[in-house]
Assembly symmetry: C2
Homo-oligomer: 130 residues x 2
């Protein structure tokens, strides 16, 4: 069950950038009222990992090649950023830019409008081991 | 539906370290035969993010405090590493140490034996934006 949904001007998968630094727009995350307490320490400036369920992905895909380089060999999806994969989990490292009740604005999110949000993590989860 | 399962000497949540650098043991990831092709570019030395479903978590928890510091104020789980949260997704940054068919050995995985694996990502997904 999603804890929230992405509200974004991105509505078309082909138009969506593959990486945040390729020009993804700001987006709002609209959370369910039932998880309000879980959100309460998010602040503008906080870096988070938004975990999404990429509901428009093709779950039958096991190997792929980059869209922009069709000459490359096929690569197993567990070694790629492809949204097409058996369980299409999306990980998005973004900064919180505003908080308005159950709505959290983030910068540079490469997920389509309506994408379910399943979890939010501190960036510490993956960066602190370095 | 899981793509695989964790095989680890860790069987007890209290004994499990909270972060990989606190001494988590090596573990094997045993994948389903149906996703063999998705694995094919994993090699010893590859750094990956293993995405798990922390099936022994308490999904009713919205606020928590560190186990080792009960004097600290309650914190919303979206700002913590707590496995207890509405959708208990685990993110584990680890290195591949061996590959044997459908079995992949990784170093320092802080997940319990039998934990479902739902996805595997290249570390690029979260590190390349820096």
């Amino acid at each position: 069950m999603p804890v929230g949904w992405v509200e974004s001007p991105l509505t078309d998968r082909v138009q969506a950038p593959r990486q945040a630094d390729e020009g993804a727009p700001p987006a709002w995350l609209a959370f369910e009222a039932g998880v309000a307490e879980a959100l309460r320490d998010l602040r503008p400036g906080t870096e988070i990992i938004v975990v999404t369920w990429l509901d428009r992905a093709d779950r039958d895909v096991l190997v792929t090649r980059p869209r922009d380089d069709p000459g490359r060999p096929l690569t197993g999806v567990f070694s790629t950023r492809s949204p097409d994969r058996p369980n299409p989990v999306g990980l998005h490292r973004v900064s919180v830019t505003a908080v308005d009740g159950l709505r959290v604005q983030v910068g540079g999110l490469e997920a389509l409008d309506g994408t379910p949000v399943i979890d939010v993590k501190p960036v510490l989860d993956l960066a602190a081991e370095r």
